[in-house]
């Protein structure tokens, strides 16, 4: 699946949703968009495409999120619509486990906002 890319997803940063996310981290709801809200607008918006892709055949029940990196050019603002594009940067099997590196580029009006790189480990691949 290495190289597989998914269609862009538009995501609007909603104030109430951001407030609920901030509250779940124990943060003030009026403190702006928490940086790791990228888990939603970048990773969440696009990883769902990978998990729902029958050809990628990700064994979701045995999936663990092993590593994560975000790099921001800036943080999005409430009310802004961003566009997230996910792709499988690497998909390998080692020691009976499957390792998927999934990258997401986020832009707004064509300008870079954030890049997400997730490593998913799927235990018991092929069994």
């Amino acid at each position: 699946m290495t190289g597989r890319a998914y269609p862009p997803v538009d995501f609007t940063i909603d104030a109430a949703h951001v407030a609920a996310f901030a509250a779940s981290l124990g943060e003030d709801a009026d403190g702006g968009v928490p940086p790791t809200y990228a888990a939603v607008y970048a990773l969440g918006a696009t990883a769902a495409q990978l998990f729902d892709d029958p050809e990628a055949a990700v064994d979701f029940d045995n999936l663990l999120h092993a590593e994560q990196e975000f790099v921001w050019e800036r943080h999005p603002l409430v009310g802004e619509t961003v566009t997230s594009r996910g792709r499988v940067a690497k998909d390998v099997e080692r020691r009976g486990m499957r390792f998927i590196t999934f990258e997401t580029d986020v832009t707004a009006a064509g300008e870079a906002v954030c890049r997400s790189r997730a490593l998913f480990v799927i235990r018991s691949a092929g069994s």
Partner: protein, 111 residues
Amino acid sequence: MTELVVTFTEEQIAAYAEASGDRNPIHLDPEFARSVGLPGVIAHGMLQMGLLARVAGDPGRLRQLSCRFAGMVRPGDTVTFRAEEEGGRVTLTALNQDGQQVVTKATAELT
């Protein structure tokens, strides 16, 4: 040095699942979690990372954040998140009540 001590609860994990949209049953359903070989429900890695971000520094200055999710965090676990900044480079740690690292290779960069 900045420090944040958090005792995880099922309620906080469920609130994060709802707010983040990651409703994987390994975070919500103890029976399901055990059926896939886990000791019970575990916290989202991204919830741990969200707490790391809180100690990393001024959110507006955060330009990079990365970590490896090295250990499971379960309800009842108390994790101490710590950040040490030197010239915009931040070293982050998260240790549970037994002194085990729950994340490794955790770093951040501030502008």
